[in-house]
């Protein structure tokens, strides 16, 4: 059962649709196959009883049975009349008249109608009806054999239809199996590509770790050694300050890596996006003020979405920090929130240095950064958070003209 759950939706669709169709076809084929012979038998019985009645009338009106000799229909293979002594008094093959019919006595005793299919010496299967008829107050057994071709035509047509439907079903299965294997091959190819991508990312990660951690560690080590031998307390403080700032840089890198690598699926709840945006602006305001950056807000209230608030705060803070870092000599950040259709749209607009045209396609790639000290994980993390919430993150920018980050999220 678990393997069923493991299958992709396409594979399940590929199995369920033809399987349902096949069941329907088999049900149709089975029903038609069961009904057709019964209908053919009913047709034959009806025809045989009509012909029996005609024979009875002809025989009643002509006791010498001369008129019977001239009676024929395309369906009659032969017929005969047997008297109470078991003697054939009439047969469509006159040479058989006067012979004995062996089963007459037992048949007469039960006074019944008997029908069966019988194979003649020619190899033809005929429908045989034996019945008692009254002629001039005497009982005779009528043996009537009919060709079955016309009645069996219905069975042949049904057989043909079933054959065609089954052939089409088999063709459908052939195509399904082919599609299934193609799908499997595609999945295997995608898995392999994913594995390769992960290996490549691991390589990148290792390179980043080596570069981003080794350098601060080397700095920390160097300044710690200098502080160890320094006799000047002021200089030692300066070294300690550098050690602390490098440690903070490493801590930030580790936090980013952990956030990027996290795989927690927290429960989403009703979240006020305007409130989150307010909080985030409050968190960066001091840093912005110190750099001469004004932050302006235009937030409509009561914008509720399903979200994990901590993750959205991380997203908005990252975007705000990116904007602040893009304006080292001051500027303005505008934070806007509005509703467009069924989406909440949060825009963070800055008039910073912007991003060059050739860098735009890479900004969401993990470990790609245009900054000297960035980890390259911020925007890719933001994009992943947006997608996890069923939303979208876009960034438009041009060199020297600032950037606009647009985050869209479905409304509740």
């Amino acid at each position: 059962m678990s393997s069923w759950r493991d299958m992709s939706r396409t594979v399940r669709f590929l199995i369920v649709v033809p399987l349902s169709f096949t069941m329907l076809v088999l049900w149709f084929a089975w029903t038609a196959f069961r009904i057709a012979p019964q209908m053919a038998a009913d047709n034959l019985r009806g025809g045989a009883l009509s012909i029996s009645s005609a024979i009875q009338q002809l025989a009643s009106s002509d006791p010498a049975f001369d008129r019977l000799a001239g009676y024929s229909t395309p369906d009659i293979a032969y017929f005969s009349l047997v008297d109470k002594n078991g003697t054939i008094v009439f047969h469509t093959n006159p040479a058989l008249a006067g012979r004995k019919q062996s089963d007459y006595v037992s048949f007469q005793a039960e006074n019944r109608i008997e029908e069966q299919r019988e194979v003649l010496g020619t190899g033809e299967e005929v429908y045989l009806l034996k019945s008692m008829i009254n002629l001039s107050e005497e009982q005779y057994m009528l043996v009537l054999a009919l060709h079955t071709y016309r009645a069996d035509n219905l069975i042949r047509q049904v057989d043909r239809a079933i054959g065609i439907v089954i052939a089409l079903t088999l063709a459908l299965w052939g195509m399904t199996i082919m599609l299934f294997f193609m799908q499997k091959r595609e999945e295997a190819r995608e898995k392999e590509m994913l594995r390769r991508e992960e290996l490549a990312r691991l390589g990148e990660l290792s390179a980043v770790m080596a570069h981003e951690i080794r350098n601060p560690v080397a700095g920390i080590k160097g300044f710690a050694q200098l502080a160890q031998v320094s006799e000047n307390i002021e200089q030692s403080r300066e070294y300690a300050g550098i050690i602390v700032s490098q440690s903070i840089r490493m801590e930030s890198l580790v936090n980013d890596l952990l956030a990027f690598a996290r795989n927690d699926r927290r429960e989403m709840g009703q979240t006020d996006i305007a409130g989150l945006a307010e909080d985030c602006v409050a968190l960066v305001r001091n840093e912005a003020d110190s750099l001469g950056i004004s932050v302006r807000k235009s937030l409509i209230p009561n914008v509720f979405c399903r979200a994990v608030p901590e993750h959205l705060i991380q997203l908005i803070l990252n975007l705000l920090k990116n904007s602040i870092q893009a304006m080292p000599e001051g500027g303005e950040i505008i934070v806007e929130l509005e509703k467009i259709g069924k989406m909440a749209v949060l825009r963070i607009v800055d008039n910073g240095v912007g991003i060059s045209e050739e860098d735009i396609p890479h900004i969401f790639e993990p470990f790609w950064t245009s900054k000297a000290e960035g980890t390259g994980l911020g925007l890719s993390l933001c994009q992943r958070i947006a997608e996890e919430h069923g939303g979208r993150l876009r960034l438009s920018s041009s060199s020297g003209a600032g950037s606009v980050a647009t985050f869209e999220l479905p409304l509740l």
């Binding site: 089975w30 293979a77 005969s80 047969h91 010496g121 020619t122 033809e124 089954i166």
Partner: protein
């Protein structure tokens, strides 16, 4: 997935080989050739009748050259007359060509292809006044070993008339 595939194969195998359902698949055999009749030795005294008609197709080898068959147009429609093995007809048959008037006595049957067949007991070419008997009244073919022991077939010259006499 493997279990589902296996179930499907079993289901299809069941529908393919169940004797009750086998006729639903036309690819499986339906007996002796296209007409389903016993071409080699078929005959039934119950269906003996006499037909007259014109030759629509003269005698020719059918069924991988094993038997002889001709076609006549009768008042009952087109009937294929089964004349027995080719080698026997070659030796004992009479001359029959297109549009000649024939009188044929034999056992009638309808094939699974819907066509009518007559397993000939006696055939008379009314145009040439030739006739030949191919079976005894019981239906035993004269080319069979038992009948061959008694008779090598009857052939009558023109105007001899009457039924063949058994010796």
């Amino acid at each position: 997935m493997r279990r589902i595939g296996f179930s499907m194969i079993l289901l299809m195998a069941f529908f393919s080989f169940d004797p009750a359902t086998v006729s639903a698949f036309p690819v499986f055999g339906q007996g002796n050739g296209e007409n389903g009749l016993n071409v080699a030795s078929g005959f039934d005294v119950n269906t003996i009748t006499t037909l007259t008609g014109k030759v629509a197709a003269p005698p020719e080898r059918r069924g991988y050259g094993q038997h002889t068959e001709l076609t006549v147009e009768t008042t009952r429609g087109t009937v294929n007359a089964m004349l027995g093995p080719w080698w026997y007809w070659e030796k004992h048959g009479i001359g029959i060509s297109m549009n000649q008037e024939l009188s044929i006595t034999g056992s009638m049957a309808q094939g699974k292809n819907g066509a009518y067949y007559i397993f000939v007991q006696r055939i008379e070419n009314k145009s040439s006044k030739e006739s030949v008997t191919l079976r005894l009244e019981s239906g035993m073919p004269l080319w069979s070993r038992r009948a061959m022991g008694r008779e090598g077939g009857f052939r009558f010259p023109p105007n001899s008339g009457g039924m063949p006499q058994q010796r």
